[in-house]
Every structure is written in structure tokens, then in C-alpha cells.
Symmetry: C2
Subunit: 369 residues, 2 copies
Amino acid sequence: MTMGRRNAVRRAFLPLLAVTCALAGSAAIAQHAADDRIAQDGTVTLDGVRIGIPGTLSPEAKAYLRHLIVDKPFGTPVDGIANERKRQDGIMGEFLRPMRERYKVDVTRQTIAGIVTDVVVPAEGIAPQNRDRVLINVHGGGFTTGAHSAALVESVPLAAIMKIKVISIDYRMAPEYQFPAASEDVEKVYREVLKTYDHAHIGLYGCSAGGLLTAQSTARFDAQGLPMPAAIGVFCAGLNGYFGGDSTALAGPLLGMLPPPPGAAPPSRPSASGPSYLETARADDPLAYPIVSPDLLAKFPPTLFITGTRGFEFSSALNSHNKLTAAGVESQFHGWDGMFHGFFYNSELPESREAYDVMVKFFDSHLGK
Amino acid sequence: MTMGRRNAVRRAFLPLLAVTCALAGSAAIAQHAADDRIAQDGTVTLDGVRIGIPGTLSPEAKAYLRHLIVDKPFGTPVDGIANERKRQDGIMGEFLRPMRERYKVDVTRQTIAGIVTDVVVPAEGIAPQNRDRVLINVHGGGFTTGAHSAALVESVPLAAIMKIKVISIDYRMAPEYQFPAASEDVEKVYREVLKTYDHAHIGLYGCSAGGLLTAQSTARFDAQGLPMPAAIGVFCAGLNGYFGGDSTALAGPLLGMLPPPPGAAPPSRPSASGPSYLETARADDPLAYPIVSPDLLAKFPPTLFITGTRGFEFSSALNSHNKLTAAGVESQFHGWDGMFHGFFYNSELPESREAYDVMVKFFDSHLGK
């Protein structure tokens, strides 16, 4: 993809990335809310091609996917980064409420190497076999939102299910900071964690911006001569970011975000809050987009991709899985048909809990004891 | 999916299954050959949603995918099973020609337990570490075609690359025979092979109908109290067959097979050659569709799925991978963005050779020595 095209796609998906977890709107959505291409049962019809909600999904996932497609519950981004962060934190809070009922954890805010973190431990205590193991999380939120909110949504289930300590990093974000500020923060925390934990006992993961940041940080560790973590989880992202391929073309439409009919006014875009985080990232820089360097990929630790066919990142994740495999790296890929960007933020979907189980099993089998 | 819906989908894809490898036509295709929804560069536009050929594909795959979408080179099924088999064998012959230049093998026809097989061995000889190992192939072709043609297309690359013996079974097919005739034939050969090879040294695989038959045979081995093979490859299929989900809705349209515009005459369907193979298979029978039995799935050996996002079976394979994983089975999934049903029949695509490497690595790491 050319940079021009990449930027156009990035702008088009900015609201999606900002909401991180699922869906966001643009003025186009309200405008075409009664679009006859979107049926009340969630079926989308494009030029006579009917794409229904997959029959293999759980009843809960079917209902939720229908709700996303038909009702578009997440609204639209607002002006001002403080306001937008508040709005996103509110959305994450709605996911956190049932999650914290289901998964009992204790959360403390700790400053590690000068960086603020949330340290999440299971209320029942860390399992004996995990006393010398730790997971590091880098949250999603389009490199603009999600500190202490998406961070917990991504950390609470794994801490509770695996009975392990999870350190979630409040890394620097845009518009105040640009690439590679977040990677620098992750490196600082990682160096400090290495004083207590063997690198082969550490896992690193994140979703969306956090998925890309996981890959970027891994590249940075290598460039800095640091030992690699035992395993990484690139969730809701690929090693080139999120875009390109069939899923980027189809994810929006299959979630009910259709182009305006011919002759309709183009949708208004939310105003940008400032420079994007990746504005300073060169397309050919492996520290920003590790996929560009086969030599680097060959040094990656075992990697797990988690995504869904209606995630715009699906093709990117699939392609990254192929590239890592071809480079001789152990790579695992798990996707759910019909599921969307960051679907597992919703812990009430059985598919999300299947995904947690895959993540836990992956880290448990790859982290040394 | 209900049986009625399942049958409707099956009928719609019958031509695709018959061609097995890629694409087939219906009268609708010629009729709308100049459809303005299909651009000369292979971009398909559905209601303003533009789906281009993925930029991550190799130049060879881009050109070939464009050719399939724009030119639809495989024609349409013909009346009479003998004629249709001859036509399909011709298509397979076109794939075989460059494949046999690239991969040198010796092929002998051998009758094993009364069943005709093609035994494919590398011209360079079997590698020392593979002298006590063997792969069994069951070919694709919609359970109606492909004996000695698709059979070789699926066997030649693996025999040559892995330097191992591959036995490809000429199992009974429709319209002359119905389920479970093919499973019975595979069982006979497997029982005979077990006299020479340890079950933990045997791999079983196939594409399309052969992917489903691999799963059906595995279920049958279990039901008959036979020891499981070391590993199986379910390619171009899932454990429920091929249909359901997003990919079944989208594969045809993304390959340029679009519904007729409003008001156009409905496409004519090729006349059926007789009863389909699966007509006698009950939807709730785990010997026909193993996915219906979690207890059976838990007993499956390590399984590899190979597919592409524009394969109608993609969602089925993805879902099967999730179900096996949830059942505690080691399952690996590899898909290629933009690639189609049986894409790796074309050995001249780098993506196909990536797929062969994945298959070889999988069997090499799972078969005992």
C-alpha cells in the first residue's frame, strides 16, 4: 500500500481505532440509519449479496453483533482530546463492570522506572507456578486513549484466569507525544522488570494500538540488545499495523458502516485532535512496522495473533502470521468468524472467553517456570 | 444452518466443488461478463464498497487472481459424469504439467487391500528419516471427480519436498456411490498400511472433498477402534464440510461471481449428474460431520487447516480450528488473504509453495521416526 493510500485508510478508520474495541460512528451513520441495506436482523446486503450474522456464533455474540450493526451504540468521537479520553474511558467502564464481577482481581497503581503502571493480581493470589512469571500489557486505544481503562479491560481476565501478575503500562500517547515515545516507555519498564524476572518468564501483549506496540517494543528490545520475552501476543493488529487486504475493505460495511448512496453528501469526519502517534513513523522503519524486516522477524519470540473476520486488521494479522511462519518463528493464529476489532473487550461473549483461554494456554505453555 | 439452507448453499456451490481447485461458472457468468461491478484490474465493487486484489499477494498470485475474477477460465460443468470427469482431469492436467517439472517424483499404481492407489515417491529417493513414515492422501473433486488427477496435484509436491512416500487413494465417489463408501475405502487402505507402518508414523490429508474425507475417515478410525494417525491435514474444508459464515456469503462475489442484476433472468444451473455423495449423510452424524461431536473432536490428532479468505470454506475452517482448540486438541490454522478454494493446486504461486512448506513442516514435526 502506498503511503498516500495508507494515510487515507488510516483516516477512514481513525474513529474505529479510537473506540478501539468495536465500532465508532461518523456522521454518515446517523444519516443512513434507516438504510435498507441493513436489515433489522443484522443482515447486510451489498448489491444483492446477502451477508448474515454467522450461524456458528453463540446466541450472545449474535445478539451483540446485531446490536452493533443495527444500533451503532458507541456514538461518535468528540472534539478535544480530554473529552474524547473521558468518553472512551466511559465505554471501557461499561465493559469493565461485568468483567470485574466475573474476574476478581486487585489493582494497584505503581510507578516502575518512572512510568505509571496498573499492576493487576488475582484476588485469590498468584498461582505457585506463576510466582516467577509475569505478563506485561500495553493497552489499545489508537495511541490516544485507554490508559487505566482499556488497560484494565485487557489485563483483568488474564490475571484472574491464569492467576498471574499483569503489569499494564500507561505509555505516552498522541497528540502530546509521537512514535517512538511509547516504545521508550515500554523499554524502561521492561528493563526494570528484567531485574526481578528472567526474560524467559515474561510475556508481552496488547490489543489494537497495543498489538502494534507489542510488536514495536519487541523490535526495540532487539535493537537495544535486550533479551526477548518468552512469548508475545499481537491482538487486534498485525506486524504492519492494522490495514490492507480484504478485511480492511469489508470490515466497515459488514458492521453496517456503508458508503453513502450515490448523490448523498459525503460524511463529515471528526476533527483531528492533533498529530497522530504514527505520524513520525517511517513506513520502512522496522521499529515502527516490524513486518518490513525478515531478519528482524526471524528473531521474534513465539507469537500469538487473535482477531475476527470483521476486524479491519484481520488480513493484516493473517499475513503477519504467514510472514513469521515463513521466517521460521512459532506463530499461532486464532480468529472468530463474524467477530470484530477488539471483540474480546466484552467478557460476556463466550467467544471472548474462548479467546482468553487461548491466550492463557499460549502464555502458560511458553513462559518458563 | 438448517438442512434446507445447507442444501441450497451446497447446490449453489456445486460447480465450485466440482472444479475443486478454484472457480467454475454458471450461465450467470457469461451472461454478465461485462458487468461493470468487475473492473479489469480485478477490483470488485459491491454497492460502492471496493474490494481490490490484496496488495500483500505475490505478483504471480495477483495476476492469477485477476485472471480468475476477470476471465473466469475454468468454464462450466458439462452433462454426464464421464464427460465431467474428463473435463476436470484436463484442468488438473494443466496444473500437473508445471508441477511435475518442478517436483520430480515416480508414480506407480498399486492395489492395496483391493483399493486402487497412486503411490508417489520422490525421484531422489525417500529421505532416511522418512523410511518408516508415510502420508496418505485423499483427493478433492467434490466426491465426484479427481481420481489420479487431483490426487497427483495434491501428492506430488509433498512427496518431493518432504522426500516421503505418499499413497493417494482412488476412493469410491458419487454419483455411483454415496457416503460412507469413501470412508470405507480409506479404512481398508489404512488397515493395510498399519501392517507396515506404526500409526504414529502416518499422516493423512486432503483438500476440499478430501479435506472433509480426512476428517470423516479420522472419525471412522475412532469408531472402529483403530489407532489414530499422528497428524491430519484438513485443507480447503472444515470439520462440518465447507459452508457457513462470512466466507460462504462472500467468496463467490469476491471471485467475480455476482448475483444477476435486478430484473435479469436467474442463471441456469448445470444439470445434476445423479445423487450427491453426501445425500446419505445425516447432518447430526459425527462420521459425516465430525464437528457435531465435541467428544469425538477431543480424540482428534494434531490437525492443520489450510485455506484462503476467498475460499467459501474459510469460515468453516476457522470455526473448526476454534472447536478443536477448545476441545484441547493441537490445531494449527494457516490462511492466505485473497486466496481461494484449493489455490495451492497451482504450484506456480509463491503462496502455494509457502503452503507446501507449512504442510511439510507440520507433518515432519508430528510424525514419529
